[in-house]
């Protein structure tokens, strides 16, 4: 199976947010791979290997990202996990919106014709949650979002995808080629079944850690460099950021002596009654 995985770099969500004027100051940010994209890489690797050690692979995993040259480090990190090659489309973070990203990915898909596009359900920086859906629409491909399990069926022609929905898990069958966006539970030990890996095989929970051998091998794997104009994608932004501000600091709490006082305060101070 030929799989295209999309990857975005985001600032470490654990870091303190800094503002310069009314814009985010990312000069000292620690960039990392969006966690859901990392799960997509893991899922793609599980779809193409057999779980044995040493693992044999069937298929190929390409990881694509739009971003500045630094993004190579996150792409290398995916290559070190085991992806076969990477594509970087040159772009500045602030010159991208979901439409541009989806249209760029559409071009890559039309060019490379993968059987499956695996994506994180959202990027944990802006929590957009729309690139996967847009891409499926542009391609006219079936889509399954928020995947928590994937099973290859019909001799590799379709996937049974478990989707996290509000009231449980919905199982959906999608023909390939398709776009699948993954949720947190896709990295559970037995969430991905490709029909080749032994049925009782269990991966360690979570995206894998690259081995040092993998890290060294990543150095020699190809990262193809492309540009938006080369791909013929219009760079006109449809979403503009007008400003960023921190949420207001929380007020200190108060201890209240009686229910009576509580009702009084809800009425007079909080004005919710």
């Amino acid at each position: 199976m030929k799989i295209l995985v999309t990857a975005k770099r985001i600032p470490d969500p654990g870091q303190k947010i800094k503002l310069k004027g009314n814009a985010l100051d990312l000069s000292a940010a620690n960039w990392q791979l969006n966690q859901f994209d990392e799960y997509a890489v893991e899922a793609a690797l599980r779809l193409t290997e057999d779980g044995a050690a040493p693992a044999t692979r069937q298929g190929a995993v390409t990881v694509a990202s739009l971003g500045p040259a630094d993004v190579q480090q996150q792409l290398r990190s995916a290559l070190a996990m085991g992806a076969d090659k990477a594509i970087r489309v040159e772009a500045k973070d602030e010159e991208l919106d979901a439409v541009i990203v989806a249209k760029t990915l559409e071009k890559l898909v039309r060019r490379d014709q993968p059987d499956l596009v695996l994506m994180g359900k959202l990027a944990a920086d802006n929590e957009g949650n729309d690139v996967g859906q847009r891409l499926a629409a542009l391609l006219g491909w079936p889509q399954a979002t928020f995947a928590c399990s994937i099973q290859v069926v019909d001799g590799g022609k379709a996937l049974l995808v478990g989707r996290e929905v509000d009231n449980g898990v919905e199982i959906k069958k999608v023909r390939l080629p398709a776009v699948v966006t993954v949720d947190l539970r896709i990295i559970a030990p037995q969430a991905v079944k490709n029909g080749r890996t032994a049925a009782n095989f269990a991966y360690p929970e979570g995206p894998r850690y690259a081995s040092l051998k993998g890290i060294r091998a990543a150095k020699d794997k190809p990262i193809e460099a492309l540009t938006l104009s080369g791909l013929g994608v219009s760079t006109a932004l449809q979403v503009k950021t007008h400003g960023s501000e921190l949420p207001p600091a929380r007020q200190a709490g108060k201890k209240i002596a009686s229910v009576h006082e509580l009702v009084e305060k809800l009425r007079s101070e909080a004005k919710v009654l």
């Binding site: 620690n30 190579q72 480090q73 850690y209 690259a210 081995s211 040092l212 150095k219 200190a252």
Partner: protein, 598 residues
């Protein structure tokens, strides 16, 4: 906020701003690598330590291994983390490609390993022991042993131990009694009792290789009669592994490092324990010194890691714990209480920990760098110079993080107040863990004797001269940047006085008064440690000042460095002069004190 274990910012600062790790890639041995690779290596260690190892620490501390039917059963979590640890390839990270390693600089792998140690020291310790044991075979073993033992150990299929200590031979290995009888069939029959052998038995892998010191029958008494053997728990019989007569005689009930077993082992109870000679007969201890020196640096790394994880915990706690009000508004109870980090004395305790932890991390980095240079520099002169400096630094890198780390760990507990004294909070566990570091791999007392009796005086004090040169360079850079001028002067003067003191003590020794020469070896170790760490703080402060001047990077972290440097140089460096006086004076209270007077 979660505990970062080790600060990424501090590690990056050391690797890329102070010691220029990528510059090592100009050496042929490291030509394959570059910063992108280093960053991935670090990223892996960081995440694995935080996500996998650290969450297992408390459970493993609470439930030590059990001895059942003569074998050790480990906490079930070991079976989850060990295979993952092996899959990272960390065991042979710094060994050459030819030996199955990744040929990474020790500067990088050592700092990367601190995350693992801070996350779960028992797990990291097993990797370190296995790597050190396999390295002995790589360096001194026959090809057959390399194939049979070393390769499997580097792959993590088998683990390794160092089996030196015996009940009557702890600090004094010259007194060890384990015997090796030649069989004429290529191996020896081993018989003897060892004690405190870490990872001496477990149920993680099929086999364990004990690097064992023993005397070949007829060998002379003392050091020259000691040889090194590889003694597996199971040996090959055809293609199956059979019992090799290494029995667990008992398990030590430890106050720290409780997740892993330290054992009394009985070799050859049934006269059926086969061992294979590694290196030449009679050279056992000098071979073993390779592993011991590596292990001593590993102990230092552990000391820093154990102090670091506790320090970060204390900072997190101090930011959240509300108690009291600033002195200026103390009487006003209507004012809300403040987080305790607002109190100057709490910040004193935190800054002291930071000075020790960051100072220790820099010490570790500079020592690892000397190992890389001693092994891989392109000129003989550079290799020799780095080797001498490494020898001098090793007892300091072993001891400073252990002794000062213990102090830092106690301060972390103190910051937690009464909660710190409860086992529901982690600082007490780290304090227990830390104590081992001043004991194993040569006690602090033994390190002091090694530093003053050997390292400082070897080659007419050549290593001290190199250290003096290095310090002089750092002082010049600091002076040029206008950084801490008073400390610069002090450091220069201290080095001059240390050279003089060392000469005086060496002469005492040469004149036959070895006892008098070594009387204050503990003070000597302490004063040289303070000087070395001051040197490293001066370097860090210089870089931080330059970066701040150019408005580079994370200003908060540089300001923090400058405060910690100032604290260390103001509170510790002045003590050196007093300690030198003490050593010079030959103050003789404990020399005169008779056993009966206690």
């Amino acid at each position: 906020m979660v505990n970062p274990l080790i600060s990424d910012r501090d590690v990056d600062f050391l690797l890329y701003e102070v010691f220029d790790a990528p510059a090592l890639c100009s050496l042929p041995a490291f030509a394959d690598h570059g910063r992108p690779t280093f960053d991935l290596v670090l990223q892996n260690s960081r995440r694995f330590a935080r996500e996998v190892l650290f969450p297992t620490y408390k459970a493993m501390d609470a439930e030590p291994p059990r001895l059942e039917n003569g074998r050790i059963v480990l906490h079930p979590l070991w079976h989850k983390i060990y295979p993952q640890l092996v899959a990272l390839d960390v065991i042979a990270a710094s060994r050459p490609y030819a030996a199955g390693g990744q040929q990474l600089p020790l500067l990088v792998t050592t700092l990367a390993s601190t995350y693992l140690m801070a996350g779960n020291l028992n797990a990291a310790g097993l990797v370190g022991l296995t790597a050190g044991a396999a390295h002995l075979i790589e360096e001194f073993g026959s090809d057959a042993l390399k194939q049979d033992f070393m390769a499997r150990m580097y792959r993590g299929e088998w683990t390794g131990t160092m089996a030196l200590t015996e009940p009557q031979a702890g600090s004094s290995l010259a007194d060890l009694k384990t015997r090796a009888t030649p069989t004429g069939e290529g191996h020896y029959r081993i018989k003897g009792s060892k004690i405190f052998i870490s990872a001496g038995d477990h149920n993680l892998t099929d086999n364990i290789v004990h690097m064992t010191l023993a005397r070949i029958d007829g060998a002379p008494a003392g050091i020259k009669g000691i040889s090194l053997f590889a003694v597996p728990t199971r040996r090959w019989q055809g293609s199956t592994l059979v019992d090799n007569d290494v029995a667990v005689a008992g398990m030590i009930h430890k106050i720290g490092w409780r997740g892993g077993p330290s054992l009394a082992l009985e070799f050859g109870e049934r006269d059926d324990c086969h061992g294979w000679l590694v290196g030449e007969p009679g050279r056992g201890l000098s071979c073993m010194f390779q592993m011991m020196n590596e292990a001593r640096i590993m102990v230092g790394a552990n000391g820093v890691s154990t102090a670091s994880v506790a320090y970060h915990q204390a900072v997190l706690y101090a930011r959240e714990r509300l108690q009291g009000r600033p002195p200026s508004v103390k009487a006003d109870a209507s004012r809300p209480p403040v987080p305790i980090i607002e109190h100057a004395d709490v910040r004193r305790m935190l800054l002291r920990q930071k000075a020790i932890v960051d100072g220790g991390l820099a010490l570790l980095a500079v020592t690892a760098l000397q190992r890389d240079l001693a092994g891989h520099s392109t000129t003989q002169h550079e290799r020799h110079r780095a080797g001498l400096l490494l020898d001098l630094l090793t007892p300091i890198t072993k001891t400073f993080p252990a002794e000062r780390g213990f102090e830092a760990n106690a301060l972390s507990l103190q910051v937690h107040g009464g909660y710190g004294y409860s086992s529901e909070f982690l600082p007490e566990a780290w304090l227990r863990d830390q104590k081992l570091n001043s004991i194993h791999e040569g006690t602090t007392g033994i390190q002091g004797l090694d530093l003053l009796g050997r390292k400082a005086v070897a080659d007419g004090g050549a290593a001290l001269s190199i250290l003096t040169e290095e310090i002089e360079q750092a002082v010049q850079k600091a002076s040029a940047a206008g950084v801490f001028p008073a400390a610069c002067t002090r450091l220069r003067e201290a080095m001059a006085r240390i050279a003089e003191l060392t000469m005086q003590l060496a002469q005492k020794g040469l004149a036959g008064d070895v006892e008098g020469m070594l009387l204050h070896s503990a003070d000597y170790l302490e004063l040289l440690s303070i000087v070395v760490v001051s040197w490293l703080w001066l370097q860090q402060a210089t870089v931080a000042t330059q970066q701040l001047g150019q408005d580079q990077g994370d200003a908060d972290s540089y300001q923090g460095k400058l405060c910690a440097a100032q604290y260390w140089l103001a509170t510790e460096l002045p003590r050196v002069s007093h300690l030198i006086d003490l050593c010079r004076s030959g103050e003789d209270s404990y020399a005169r004190m008779q056993p009966a007077w206690f």
